[in-house]
């Protein structure tokens, strides 16, 4: 096929995509009008509107699946327009809508109309981490490996963390806000009180078996997990945790027992593993 023919096809497709991703009320552009049959026929106008409506419905559905707490906090009447706005400002890169929506936290933080709810961005970060944890690669606990902690030099050893493990630091009670809406604990009144009181919380997200989980985490454990996620070995991560300013001292043994019981820590590895999710490379724009 000639370069010209492919370029012409690409131009046709670009014109239609531009028409669909243009903001609401945007007129059909002359290049697209020139390519469409019956461009002025009411059915063509309705057809383009149907495609736009499909996109908006997909945006609302996909974003609500990933951010149910944000939807509850701002209300459906605000959430659906927000989803459509995000669709136009940050269109999907992939043909899998579960991948779309990662831009919402920053979008919320920069949204002028949401300036009086500065906690929404951090809640969205926690929800996106929870969403991603739900689809992370499966892993099974390796309980015998914990014996290595007593038998070997811990330098160079790391902990295997659950699929999707992430730590979200915030100046707001993010864990309380999310769990109050998803699980009813604490109740909404208590979550609101913590928000008004300016309680800061660090939040841990992980997957226990097939169940994505989220909850508050203390400062020592947050530092420990963050260091492990950044590739530190266990002694280095523990040193960092113990240096973290906090009212209580850190009982690593007690924390580890609970973390293993709840499926947050799955085993002991030879060397630290980079757990941080890798960014998805940008899609090709040409074959």
């Amino acid at each position: 096929m000639s370069f010209q023919a492919r370029t012409s096809l690409a131009a046709q497709q670009t014109a239609l995509l531009q028409a669909l991703f243009a903001g609401p009320g945007a007129a059909v552009t002359p290049p697209l009008m020139a390519e469409l049959a019956d461009a002025n026929h009411p059915q063509t106008v309705r057809g383009l509107a149907a495609y736009r409506r499909n996109g908006h419905a997909a945006a609302e559905r996909a974003l609500r699946a990933a951010y149910p707490v944000i939807a509850a906090l701002i209300g459906d009447e605000n959430f659906d327009p927000l989803a459509r706005e995000l669709w136009h400002h940050h269109p999907p890169l992939r043909g899998d809508l579960a991948q779309w929506g990662d831009a919402l936290p920053a979008f919320l933080q920069q949204h002028a109309q949401l300036a009086d709810t500065p906690y929404l961005g951090d809640v969205a970060r926690a929800e996106w981490a929870l969403h991603r944890a739900g689809s992370a690669a499966d892993a099974t606990p390796d309980l015998p490996s914990f014996a290595r902690l007593a038998q070997e030099d811990p330098r160079g050893l790391g902990l295997t963390l659950a699929p999707g493990t992430a730590v979200i630091a915030s100046r707001h009670p993010v864990a309380s806000l999310v769990t109050a809406h998803l699980y009813g604990v604490p109740d909404l009144n208590e979550a609101a009180r913590r928000l008004r009181a300016g309680c800061a919380e660090q939040t841990v997200v992980w997957r226990q078996g097939l169940r994505p989980r989220l909850g508050p985490i203390g400062p020592h454990a947050a530092t420990l997990l963050t260091a492990l996620l950044n590739g530190a070995d266990l002694p280095t991560a523990l040193d960092a945790a113990c240096e973290t300013p906090a009212p209580e001292t850190f009982d690593f043994g007690a924390w580890l027992t609970q973390a293993v019981t709840e499926g947050l820590v799955l085993g002991v590895r030879d060397r630290p593993v980079q757990h941080r999710p890798q960014p998805i490379p940008a899609p090709e724009t040409a074959a």
């Binding site: 149907a50 899998d96 579960a98 899609p283 724009t285």
Partner: protein
């Protein structure tokens, strides 16, 4: 009346076997299907919903695969895109195919991606030589990676491109002949396009047009039929998969079976998904149509 397209003797032998009927397996029916395990020959899922490398959705599909053959039906490969196939998308699909070992893999004769964006919709390609070349190359790339033929589905189009070098059956027949891909004929889409043509004043009789369309598709390429409901919205008809199959589409299904033989048939329902029994009832009717039961072609009471 138009003459049905020729079917090869071997294709006909394969297709005179027992009817094979499946339903689209959607989230509201995950538990019910696994509990009831109704008699179905296959289930169909949207591939993209199971792209994750792990987690609950994939676990559910693995469970479903223990009981049923699975048809993996994609909506996002964008086989007609001049920007080509997204390698990330193809990687996920290849992994899923390896995991599930589906009975069929399919997607649409549409495009959705370009300039780094993906519309996540099934947008029509012009029926031109240039678009055919692009789609052939993209289909070939997918088949080379998956090491198996895929089936490509005709779509409902809500806008028409001004220039066309051929009609849609010709486009699809040539695509199949050049790439060795199969065709997935969505009977409802054929009828929806014919109804919209009628609303534009381009045809007087959509049923005759749809029959002619089906008869023009070469039978040896057809691997699966899709049936679904559609919605009338004034001056346009939308393929919304949100209601029972209408009588006209049942009659076209019978015509398709006469043209193509006992091709596996799928009942799709994606909007306002009803109780599982409704889909099973539709599947039973499809089975009767394939089996030649005249009562199944009668208009519903």
């Amino acid at each position: 009346m138009e003459k049905p397209a020729t079917m090869t003797a071997s294709a006909h032998r394969h297709r005179t076997a027992a009817p094979r009927v499946g339903i689209g397996w959607r989230h509201p029916h995950y538990a019910a299907l696994l509990e009831q395990q109704p008699a179905l020959d296959f289930i169909e899922v949207h591939s993209e919903n199971f792209f994750a490398p792990g987690g609950a959705a994939l676990a559910v599909l693995r469970e479903g695969r223990k009981h049923y053959a699975v048809s993996l039906h994609g909506v996002g490969l964008s086989l007609g895109s001049a920007a080509g196939i997204d390698p990330w998308h193809l990687d996920q699909l290849a992994r899923l195919v390896q995991t599930i070992e589906p009975v069929r893999v399919s997607d649409h004769a549409s495009f959705a991606r370009g300039e780094g964006r993906h519309a996540n919709d099934l947008l029509p390609v012009p029926l031109t030589h240039a678009a055919l070349e692009v789609m052939c190359a993209n289909v070939q790339r997918v088949q080379d990676r998956l090491r198996r033929p895929i089936a490509v589905e005709n779509l409902s189009a809500y806008v028409q491109w001004r220039h066309a070098d051929m009609d849609e059956p010709d486009f699809l027949n040539t695509l199949a002949r050049r790439t060795g891909c199969q065709l997935l004929v969505d009977v409802n889409n054929v009828y929806v396009n014919a109804l919209n043509a009628q609303l534009r004043g381009a045809t007087d009789d959509p049923l005759v047009d749809a029959r002619r369309w089906l008869a023009a598709v070469q039978a040896q390429h057809v691997a699966e039929l899709h049936l679904a409901g559609h919605a009338h919205a004034g001056d346009i008809v939308i393929d919304d998969h949100g209601s029972r199959v209408c009588d006209a589409v049942w009659s076209l299904h019978a015509h398709a079976v006469r043209c193509f033989g006992a091709v596996p048939t799928l009942i799709e329902w994606d909007t306002g998904v009803p109780p599982l029994d409704v889909l099973l009832d539709e599947a039973q009717r499809a089975r009767a149509v394939i089996g030649g039961d005249p009562a199944a072609m009668e208009p519903a009471a």
